[in-house]
Symmetry: none
Subunit: 153 residues, 2 copies
């Protein structure tokens, strides 16, 4: 298994530490672990995007298409790299979420880790429950559009 799958809820302790779910850690290691995970505010949601080397490469890939020294590239670089933080993983598999990131996601107390394949997101459990509900509806619609390729109803 080499992608981030499923959802886990963990606690933040008094020092702001959270355990990364063990299955995610396994993926990160396979992914080429380089001292920490990349984490930044999601653009379209009150959550954080996070991942390992693969995620970093993907961001590079998006920039690679643009000419060096173009304004467009500079802007995108800022948008993509500007808010990225590298969060170190301690010996017990935990990271510390800085206040700025926590604020963006409205996190306090508990954290939901949500696997999205190539990356994962970090949510406040409450906000995530709401988003999950909407996402499910969307998938249902999607299936209808696809014409019951997958008919389990």
């Amino acid at each position: 298994m080499d992608r981030f799958v499923s959802t886990f809820i963990n606690k933040i302790d008094a020092k702001g530490r959270v355990s990364i779910p063990a299955p995610f850690r396994a993926v990160l290691e396979r992914d080429g672990y380089a001292g920490g995970i990349y984490c930044y505010p999601s653009l379209g949601a009150p959550a954080l995007d996070a991942g390992g080397e693969r995620l970093a490469k993907k961001i590079d890939g998006l920039l690679a298409g643009l000419p060096d020294y173009s304004d467009e590239r500079d802007e995108l670089s800022v948008a993509l790299y500007g808010d990225v933080q590298v969060l170190g993983i301690d010996g017990d598999g935990r990271i510390v979420l800085p206040e700025s990131l926590r604020a963006h996601a409205g996190i306090s107390g508990q954290v939901a880790f949500v696997g999205l394949g190539d990356k994962f997101q970090i949510w406040s459990p409450d906000a995530f429950e709401e988003r999950r509900r909407r996402a499910r509806e969307k998938v249902r619609d999607h299936k209808k559009l696809l014409g019951a390729a997958d008919r389990d109803e």
Copy 2:
């Protein structure tokens, strides 16, 4: 034989473990076993969908068309990957059904494994019996409409 067929009923023990029917295990192995089965709540039924690598690839396929880093993709990913659980298979061919999944399917005590070809479903035996009954009626109606000979029972 490389697809899931027929129905089996097994018990859940005190630890929440259930044996996967041996024929299904055989299919899973042929399917490229990667440490566990993929399992998630069915969208339209009080049941669980489950399968091996083939099922995982199918999910990938649904996302393949969408651009990276689009909100659209993230949203679908939440429902497609976020709801999936990877259930490890122990040395005796058993999985543990987490409480959240059991709740969705109304499972306790016994479990029905229902083969659906590429994947299989996990039901509470009662709920499944009910659904099967209705499915038969539906088939009968179809046959009448098609003017086919109704030769079962």
